[in-house]
Symmetry: D2
Subunit: 392 residues, 4 copies
């Protein structure tokens, strides 16, 4: 293989400080979701995988393994009640023991028959209170676990025209979330996820980034939008939404995944890797202009791929993409943009995108003291065999 | 209310024979699906409904009730193994007792872990044989129940680029189905359903009408395509597909429902009733040109509406739409088309579509000896209370 | 035909005051676009129509004719420079003579080679100033014509990734429009139209309602969003956007049309009339809750239908839809929503939608002193023949 | 830069014969369209470019220049009547002089007012004859120019429901094309392009690959389908369509371009380069299984990029993609597919896709005797300055 310095010579633009790139890559952080390690599926079938994690303890173990081989996935997001335990300090200790931090807390507002017509937006005030209560319970858990991110995906919506009143629901949501925000501590942030459709099939109360950002503006600086890559209309320009949210100071976090059709929850970058690069291009440009405070999280459902392996692959896809985005020659790009040289602008992005960043990532992994090929390292490790043996 | 003859005067074009329209409406047949009467949901949650049918006996009871109030839903489709029983003659007798016929048999190729990488297209010949075997078992059941429709929805596809070879899968499918066709009796028809995506999220082996019709041409005259209204790309012109399939003599059946986004399985006509009218406009035109042999079936999943009530509503939506399509003045339409009078053509369709067909449907129901308002009749009947009391 | 009082008995819910409905319909106002009367087409071909208006004088004549037969289209929107004249008072007098008011002024930021890389967002300050200057010129024309609506469709966007910087363009747009707003008089309103794509094919600077409403919030109460029905991603729930804009007090106007695929500019209601009804359902509900100040405008391009005839048809489609929306029994609807009776809610909307409102519209037209069948009246009038004879 | 043999060692799988890859790349042929060198635009504006070709002679000159720097674009497609000349032998000589071959002949069925309601499908037999006559004229031109490809894009469709009868139009099209096929010489092939929508906005007579392939089957072995990458519904799996057409022996040609929304006619590979790779992956797999006879053509409209430069970029994008597809280790891929190792399958494709193929392409260009960086070579050449000086 090419020596690193030879690689740099042909691949790193003069304007780019490769040591800074390496530092950025070492400091990159991606949170994996506890729910990504258990069996999952479609409405038609859940394929059971031998060795898939059966409880939160095993899920954290898996997450720790992903971090062990990638070096950049040090925390796991929890989902309540799926990850609910009686003894939070015990869970906290377990996490420390296996080597994983606990990250964002995700309330669940979709798995109770009471929410058939909505949770925080339900016409019935008692149901809304139940949903608000669950969110407050999540805030209590955040206090137990020193988490500072409350990550809300609101599944509310209607299935049929006329079923409920859009404006009334909008106001109920605003009121419900104000109550939750009041309950939160000052260091806590509420992330507001939006989604084009599903599980509601006629309207969704928070269907797009516009709804989320308007709501976040009303709720104040501790409320921000969360972008899930699978939650947009077909052909939406997600990188533009990312840029606009940065400009509005309302980009709070990501749920990474990919899709071809709907919210397919496929491996991030598996369908349109260039789109992921263009998103990271906005993030790298944003970082170049000032500090960003964004939670990078994966939200995927590997129905047919082995769970831990697929998560390793996902983390690596993101890392590779970030590396490429850091190689964009921004100074020349700005100059070409000013000159209106459309082909030159595009080729500057493509040059970075087409770069084989393997030598750079090897150098980064060397610096982190991990195997240069994490996916093979995982495949060859004892862990895939171990999980087949662990109990339920 | 307007007298029927007054209604006719303002609403029935001179060229249309209203008695024939009434006969068509009396003879209309819509099959309801046994699986539409049990609890259903999304991948996020199945909302349980008090009184939802718990077994095939209750499901047939419900289907019979829909027929009782609508008069045009005399049969129910079965799904194997969901409706599997040891004693088929007993089920047949039960059906006769509650007053329902048994219709299309639907094999299930999606709920077995063996099918993770495909059923009839699986790279592993043993899995393909298992799937073929299940379809033959369904043919055996058809013999037991005197059914002549084998209605195949192939859920096969892949989730990731490279996962399998498109052309190999295409050929495996052709071979598998040839074996099934050989096993079928001469009076039996294979309906081939296509679907744009889900549960596979990268490619689907039978993704569009083109794939289905090419396959049906290969399999011979006893193989036809089945159109599910929710299985197309956004903006697809379904009425054109219906017309093309009629022209190719390959339109075997429908799965009625509606959607706004993906395969939402909402009540037929609830999102775009004009599209349903345009589809029926093609069907009525096709009938005017010669006999059609099409199985009209509903395939819906009423996650939040009461099951039986929603099915009554669905049958009525289809009936209303067919009634309107029968009122199109086709002779004048053809003349306006020849003259290129675009506005006149459109207004001829709209005139029929805008007609309030209530008096016509009352007359039809009177002739069938049922209540003129089936939905209210159902709501006021003892049945909704009864289902709450029946066991599991 | 049914007498009006008989019609009312079967069709008007008890809670609805039919006299108020009639008043609403008499007061309905729809503005037609001057550019809808001239030849138009696709990028592939402009089909020339004999008799299509050749200049602004003829276009206003046509608009006046549409008003003459419909009674509810008293004004025409102008497009600068297409409708530019040297002598504005003369145009104003001509308008009064033919019986048409002058409505919204629409600047043109897409037909100058200078705008190749953007107008109000162009990287080059000189081009931005040119665009701002054109908008100020339009404000001057508004003063000449006593118009109070400046209706901006911003065509800006990019065709290729990297071509320009999203955030810089966003800020340039905000600055440019602040300058325009400063130039406007206090009674003037800026309508901000958004569009998903076209003529730019990678990103559009104002691509969705979220962008438009955030911008309008920044620009103050005299800036509002304009909803063009053809400018959304496929499957977007436009009626929800309308409701949200009402709730944000940012719904300034409509551009009515319809589409199946992209921005097809077809006759309003011709593809999905139920969607139009659901939009009007929100408008009627909004009116019931308080005064709305919305400019209802048509923006269509009748490439193959005769121009004036198509515009009459369009106005009538909107009128019919509004009539149906006014017949919704809102009190019972709210009650059913509270009870979570999904089927009842839906049937309440459907009851209004399915109503044949011909007798009601006849009554309204009688009150306005016009022919009860405006389309036939137009077809039979001398006007279609007249336009064939007028010069260029 | 890395030596070629070092590059091979890290980048060429053992199973791949790099000399064969180089031969394939040297033999690659991409046809550019004469109409891609003149001014073009959207329905809103055509941006004029200084130096854009003004006539067929200049267009061929431009095409020759693209071939000169890329080495793999030896022919140009013609469009009749845009490229119509009185003296065909003179044009043929001019082409030879500038160094370009004449390729597919493209009839124009969309730019005549007669075709307002259709060309080959028009309800009026006289219009159909006019369209058939134009196609026969194109066959005559093919004889003059020794072309053997008649490349039909049928723009026919309707804008409104009811405007015409789907089945009648289908039959008229079949009849019209049978007449054209009868007129063609035995060595000539008819390529049938399909398109989801535009310029018709309600239905398109050849809307999808299914329609095209059914028609091609009816017309016999000399009729094949042509895939334009921008002519599909959003999210369609084009690589699957390509594979199916290969399997049906009906893949006749490509129109390369890219799009994000509709038929945007952007530079091939500019929006989703991985999709282009997956398409080429099918082509390379098809070639590995047997000879393919496919016409690879570009169909783009560079509204804001300089014409020749954009075409060079496009040819290079295709070449790079083909190079990557040739590096896929197909033997291991088949083995991984058999084992159902989804991650391994995907990584095999990704390994090839992520390869920096610059050294390979340099080697290929060296063998062809051209500059290793064709885009820079073009930019630095005299040609961009020359075109600014040539007359009209």
């Amino acid at each position: 293989m090419l020596s690193f310095s030879d690689w740099c010579q042909s691949n790193v633009p003069e304007q780019v400080d490769v040591e800074q790139v390496i530092q950025r890559l070492i400091q990159q952080r991606i949170e994996t979701p506890s729910w990504g390690y258990g069996d999952s599926g479609t409405r038609f079938h859940v394929f059971t995988q031998q060795g898939a994690a059966k409880n939160v303890y095993q899920r954290l173990e898996d997450a720790a393994q992903v971090h062990k081989v990638t070096g950049i996935a040090p925390s796991a997001a929890l989902h309540i009640p799926w990850d609910y335990v009686e003894d939070w300090p015990a869970l906290h200790r377990h996490a420390q023991e296996v080597g994983i931090e606990l990250g964002a807390i995700n309330p669940n507002l979709f798995q109770d028959d009471a929410y058939k017509l909505g949770s925080l937006t339900n016409p019935d005030a008692a149901v809304r209170q139940k949903a608000v209560g669950h969110m407050k319970e999540c805030v209590d858990i955040m206090r137990e676990l020193d988490s500072d991110l409350l990550s809300l995906w609101l599944p509310d919506g209607t299935n049929y025209p006329g079923q409920d009143d859009f404006r009334s629901r909008k106001r109920r949501l605003e009121e419900s979330l104000e109550e939750v925000m009041d309950y939160m501590d000052p260091h806590m942030t509420l992330l507001i996820e939006y989604k084009f459709f599903e599980p509601a099939f006629y309207h969704t109360d928070l269907a797009d980034w516009g709804s989320a950002v308007l709501l976040a503006h009303k709720l104040g600086p501790r409320a921000k939008a969360l972008v899930d890559l699978g939650h947009h209309p077909l052909a939406a320009n997600i990188e533009q939404i990312v840029a606009f949210l940065i400009d509005e100071d309302k980009l709070g976090g990501f749920h990474f995944n990919n899709r071809k059709y709907a919210d397919d929850d496929l491996t991030v970058g598996s369908i349109n890797p260039y789109e992921l690069f263009l998103i990271y291009n906005e993030l790298a440009a944003g970082e170049a202009d000032g500090d960003l405070d964004i939670a990078y999280m994966i939200d995927q459902s590997h129905n047919i791929k082995p769970k831990v392996e697929a998560m390793v692959q996902s983390v690596l896809n993101i890392q590779e993409t970030y590396a490429k985005a850091l190689l964009v020659d921004r100074k020349t790009l700005r100059e070409s943009q000013r000159q209106g040289d459309v082909v030159a602008c595009e080729e500057l992005l493509l040059k970075a995108y087409r770069t084989d960043v393997t030598p750079l990532l090897h150098r980064v992994r060397e610096a982190m003291g991990i195997d240069p090929d994490p996916l093979q390292a995982y495949r060859k490790s004892e862990y895939p065999k171990y999980v087949l043996t662990r109990g339920t």
